[in-house]
């Protein structure tokens, strides 16, 4: 099959004609023959149904012939026949070529196989020869190793003797060496040398020569131990020397307990000195490092040296020392008041904590590390408190700044600007504080994965203790402005009240939730314990804002009222001249109201007002609204007489149109101004009611009221309110007038328009 396929490939490489379609056809036919129908199957299936396809598998000569005969003319048949003959001929020649070439290849393959058979025979002979040689080599090698066996044993023995001799030499030289070490104070070397030799000497002590050596050594070691003890007692040397000393003495079989006690007492005196030093230099900020270090080192050494039986003693020792150390550390931390750089403190605490963790590894049962953690926790708490108070003072300071800024220029320039700068200041400060506090929970700080710092510190400490407390503080201090200012002469400038009110409102709408979200994100707060919800804070802020705004309205209203009251009370209304002008105080009222309007407009939105009537500024007063009827009624002194309509109308007013004067206002400009104007006009009314007017006094009030009417309606939400109050004022003045003859409306208008 291989050969045939090769032959096929040969055929394909030798194209029968240059026409590519013809070549493909031949190729496919061959494939068909050999059952290699991997390509063109679809085409075949399409063709296969046609019995007239001469190349198809279902070709039926009879059908084909009949078809040809039926379809074609003679001439066509002739042509077809000749074409067919030509095709048959070419197919025959193709077939011949193929058969010939395949035959040729078959012959050359037979030749190749025959040649291979010959070559294999030669190779077999060579292999036999090789195996014989290998057997000879093995034999020789065995013989050589047999000869060398004896010499090897001798060499081994000799080297053993050599080692022994070396050991003996060491033993003989030992006294001298020990002496030399003693002279050089190389105690460690001496002890290790002696220890190496001790067992051997012990074993061979029955032999006199060894015995001599042992005795010598003994004497020397005794001397050495003496020296060591001396050194230990002196105690002047460093902790390291001391511990080395102890180690050596232990190796020399000194009683461990006694040593332990001595060692601890030495260590204690040393640490005592350290602590005193610390106490002396309490101001030095880097102390946490050194102190922690010394304690750690000592306990490290101690634990290394002292076996279990002394563990209890060690604990007591460490605990007492640590207690003193901690008290020092705490005092030091308490002195850390400045809030400038938190990272320094956090780093120091971290180092401190790390050292104590090391002690845990050395003394698993000790309470020291947990005490240490407590100190860190306390320090963190203290820190939060300090930050809170720092924030509070900052807030106060910035308010003072704002106050100055408000006081400096006469005009209330840039209330909005001040507000944004204030709130930005506060927010930035809060953010920087949060960043500082965040250091406590940084990943590379060892104590940050303690449960306290993961849970309580974030939620109770930072969120509640710092952020929430601060927001509450803002609200509370704002409220205080309302309370203190009212009684004691209004020390808070009204503009500040307005500003704070807007600040609180902003907090309510956005800032609080922003800050809390920020905190929660930064600290990944998990609320194990209930925390103050955002809504509660918002409500508090809103309440504060409302209170401030109400207070602002009250203060501003009272300022204007005061002006009006003084102007009414100090004037002699009976003996006044005919009005020629609007009184200056009314102009001042309008001016002030306008400036308040500007001030409020900078911070609050416009708000809604009722539609104005077209002639808002030109409206005549019914001067006689209340007094006219009284004239008509003849005076009667009957107490039981039917109540006059005046009283009825008053009672009617009492129930229908009561105006709440100091009512809460909404957070918009119109409502604020309505409140202020209400307060002012009500005061005007009340003052008018307790005065007595002459004819011109009434007319002056008429002029004043008309003037106010012209300018005030635009500020309020419902102009009818202004109309109502002004009507009441003029009506009351008319009632309190000795000679009520009102002025002509046209004259009033002329006077008012003149200015």
């Amino acid at each position: 099959a291989h050969l045939i396929s090769k032959a096929g490939s040969v055929i394909t490489t030798t194209p029968p004609d240059s026409d590519p379609t013809g070549r493909r056809r031949v190729h496919s036919m061959l494939k068909l023959y050999y059952g290699l129908n991997e390509e063109g199957t679809a085409a075949e299936q399409a063709e296969s149904l046609d019995p007239c396809d001469i190349n198809g598998p279902h070709f039926d000569p009879e059908v084909y012939l009949n078809k040809l005969r039926k379809d074609c003319s003679l001439c066509e048949l002739m042509d077809h026949e000749s074409c067919m003959v030509k095709q048959i001929r070419s197919l025959d020649s193709d077939m011949q070529t193929l058969v010939y070439e395949n035959y040729n290849k078959f012959i050359s393959a037979t030749d190749t196989i025959r040649k291979m058979k010959n070559d294999f025979k030669k190779m077999e002979d060579e292999m036999d020869c090789l195996s014989a040689n290998m057997a000879a080599i093995t034999e020789f090698s065995a013989r050589i190793s047999g000869t060398l066996q004896d010499q090897h044993a001798q060499i081994t023995k000799l080297s053993g003797v050599h080692t022994l001799l070396r050991k003996l030499q060491f033993l003989f030289e030992l006294p001298a060496r020990l002496n030399k070490c003693l002279e050089l104070q190389a105690y460690a070397q001496a002890v290790s040398a002696h220890r190496r030799a001790r067992c051997v000497l012990q074993q061979y002590s029955h032999m006199p020569s060894f015995r001599g050596i042992q005795d010598d050594c003994h004497v020397i070691m005794e001397q050495l131990a003496q020296q060591l003890r001396q050194k230990f007692r002196d105690g002047g040397s460093s902790a390291k020397d001391l511990s080395e000393c102890v180690e050596l003495l232990l190796q020399l079989d000194e009683p461990a307990e006694e040593l332990c006690d001595k060692f601890l007492s030495h260590a204690q005196s040393r640490l005592e000195a350290d602590l005193q030093g610390l106490e002396a230099e309490l101001k030095d900020s880097a102390f946490t490092d050194t102190g922690g270090g010394s304690v750690q080192k000592t306990s490290e050494l101690a634990s290394k040296n002292i076996p279990e039986m002394a563990n209890g003693k060690l604990h007591v020792f460490v605990d007492t020392l640590a207690a003193r150390y901690f008290s020092l550390v705490e005092r030091r931390i308490q002195e850390e008041k400045g809030v400038g750089d938190n990272s320094l403190l956090v780093r120091a605490l971290d180092r401190f904590h790390r050292r104590l963790q090391a002690i845990t590894k050395l003394l698993p049962g000790s309470a020291v590390p947990s005490h240490g953690t407590e100190i860190v926790v306390r320090a963190a708490r203290e820190r939060i408190k300090q930050y809170l108070s720092a924030l509070q003072t900052f807030y106060h300071d910035s308010l003072t700044d704002v106050r100055q800024a408000l006081a400096a220029p006469r005009l209330a320039v840039g209330g909005a600007k001040l507000l944004t700068s204030l709130s930005n200041f506060i927010l930035n400060q809060l953010k920087s504080v949060l960043a500082s506090v965040h250091l406590f929970t940084a990943k590379d700080i060892t104590f940050s994965n303690k449960p306290y710092f993961k849970g309580e510190f974030c939620s109770q400490g930072v969120r509640e203790g710092l952020v929430v407390s601060f927001i509450k503080f803002i609200c509370q201090s704002s409220r205080q402005y309302c309370e203190s200012a009212g009684d004691r002469g209004g020390s808070t400038p009204p503009a500040l009240l307005l500003l704070l009110s807007r600040l609180c409102l902003d907090y309510e709408t956005s800032t609080i939730s922003y800050i809390l979200t920020l905190t929660d994100e930064q600290f990944l707060v998990q609320h194990h314990t209930p925390v103050t919800p955002v809504t509660a804070l918002c409500a508090e802020a809103r309440e504060a804002a409302q209170k401030l705004l109400n207070h602002y309205v009250k203060v501003q209203g009272l300022i204007i009222s005061q002006m009006l009251r003084k102007s009414v009370e100090t004037r002699d209304w009976v003996n006044t001249i005919e009005p020629r002008n609007v009184r200056a105080v009314m102009k001042r009222v309008v001016e002030d109201t306008t400036s308040i309007d500007v001030q409020v407009g900078l911070l609050y939105e416009e708000g809604v007002r009722k539609a104005h009537s077209s002639d808002s500024s030109k409206r005549t007063f019914s001067v006689y609204s209340s007094s006219r009827q009284q004239i008509r009624y003849a005076p009667s002194y009957t107490p039981s007489a039917p109540m006059d309509t005046n009283l009825l109308s008053n009672i009617h007013k009492l129930f229908s149109e009561r105006i709440d004067i100091f009512s809460p206002v909404e957070f918009n400009k119109v409502s604020v101004l309505t409140g202020i104007i209400k307060i002012s006009l009500k005061t005007f009314l009340e003052c008018v009611r307790i005065r007595t007017f002459g004819r011109y006094g009434l007319q002056q009030i008429q002029v004043d009221c008309h003037y106010l009417q012209m300018y005030l309606w635009r500020f309020v939400s419902d102009e009818n309110l202004v109309h109502f109050l002004l009507d009441e004022i003029v009506g009351s003045a008319a009632h309190r007038c000795l000679d009520p003859s009102p002025m002509e409306q046209s004259v009033i208008e002329v006077i008012c328009e003149r200015g």
Binding site: I661, F662, S732
Partner: protein, 358 residues
């Protein structure tokens, strides 16, 4: 209390002056002075009959001028003082005078009310408290629990102590005190303390409250800025000698212990406009009545700072209903004893009756 219906009494003139008649202990009696610039003013005597829930009224003519303040003598129920304004030569001056009610008024009004209305009787003038040297009088105070011989008038910035002699027909100034200071100082209200043998007086001017010792006529304490605005009225707690209530234009009612004047003991902010008057109930000092130009009268039950701080409950039966009471106060569960005046839209004065509750 039998019924809740308020008893309404209408005056044809506006009024600002009202007092309970302190000398009258049998009936519940109030005096009201009217204000009218054009007509003759009147004094209405109003008796409340709490058994029948009715009022009896009488009218006396007060032709001197409109009445700004009225107070009855504690000793003689027929004697009273008024402060009235007098207009002369284009000048308005508030004067004070002592009056006696004509003896027949009581019988006359009872027999034929219609007749009395046609022929109102006129008050009999006993004497003027001549104040031409001192200016307008703000109020006249009788010596509480006294024998009706001593009165104090507050005129501008002067305190004048008068002795009434010859059955009140002659008044002489026995001592004076003057408030000195910057600007035009003017007393707005005052109260003669019923404690300390009636030797103390408290006055209000602008935002300050001052206490005076009448023996030396000197100031003994001063509460500066007691209220944010003008102080309108004062009253002493009838049972606790150092306790004082004040009210003012800042809508607040404050309670003071005059031994500790730095801070008020308590502060109420119920009203929404100026508080014009404040009165303690004479026998139940936890009850306090305040009237304001927000058209409301509020009765407060201040048990915590009363002389009975442990909640001695007031039996409703002890209290009788009152006249001219438009009931819109908050404490409807307690019926109360007060009279109030409705003027314009504002309530200016009210008084607890001095009659004993029986």
């Amino acid at each position: 209390m039998d019924d809740d219906a308020p008893v309404i009494y209408g005056l044809e003139f506006q009024a600002r002056a009202l007092t309970a008649q302190t000398a009258e202990t049998d009936a519940i009696r109030f005096l009201v002075g009217t204000q009218s610039l054009k007509f003759d003013n009147q004094i209405h005597i109003i008796d409340f009959d709490d058994e029948n829930n009715m009022i009896n009224k009488s009218v006396l003519l007060h032709d001197a001028g409109e009445i700004w303040h009225i107070s009855g003598s504690p000793a003689d129920k027929a004697v009273l003082t008024t402060c009235y304004s007098k207009t002369s030569e284009n000048r308005v001056l508030t004067c004070a005078a002592v009056w006696r009610m004509p003896p027949e008024w009581e019988s006359g009004s009872h027999e034929s009310p219609d007749d009395s209305s046609n022929n109102p009787q006129t008050l009999e003038l006993l004497c003027h408290l001549d104040n031409t040297a001192h200016g307008s009088v703000a109020c006249v105070l009788w010596e509480p629990l006294g024998d009706g011989k001593r009165v104090i008038s507050l005129a501008e910035n002067h305190v004048l102590l008068w002795d009434l002699q010859e059955s009140s027909t002659k008044a002489t100034i026995s001592s004076t005190a003057t408030l000195e200071g910057k600007g035009q100082l003017k007393f707005t209200a005052g109260k003669w303390s019923p404690h300390h043998n009636s030797t103390q007086l408290v006055t209000a001017n602008d935002t300050a409250i001052r206490g005076w010792d009448l023996r030396s006529m000197s100031q003994i304490y001063c509460i500066e800025n007691a209220h944010g605005q003008l102080v309108r009225d004062l009253d002493f707690n009838p049972n606790k000698q150092y306790y004082l209530a004040s009210c003012g234009d800042d809508c607040k009612v404050k309670f003071w212990d005059v031994r500790h004047i730095n801070e008020p003991v308590k502060c109420l902010e119920e009203h929404s406009h100026w508080v014009w008057s404040v009165r303690y109930n004479h026998s139940h000092d936890q009850l306090l009545l305040t009237g304001s130009s927000d058209s409301r009268v509020i009765l407060s039950n201040m048990v915590s700072i009363s002389s009975e701080p442990f909640g001695h409950l007031v039996d409703d039966d002890d209290l009788s209903d009152n006249e001219e009471n438009q009931q819109e106060d908050k404490y409807t569960s307690l019926s109360l004893m007060y009279l109030r005046l409705v003027q314009y839209n504002s309530i200016h004065f009210h008084h607890f009756s001095s009659a004993q509750f029986s």
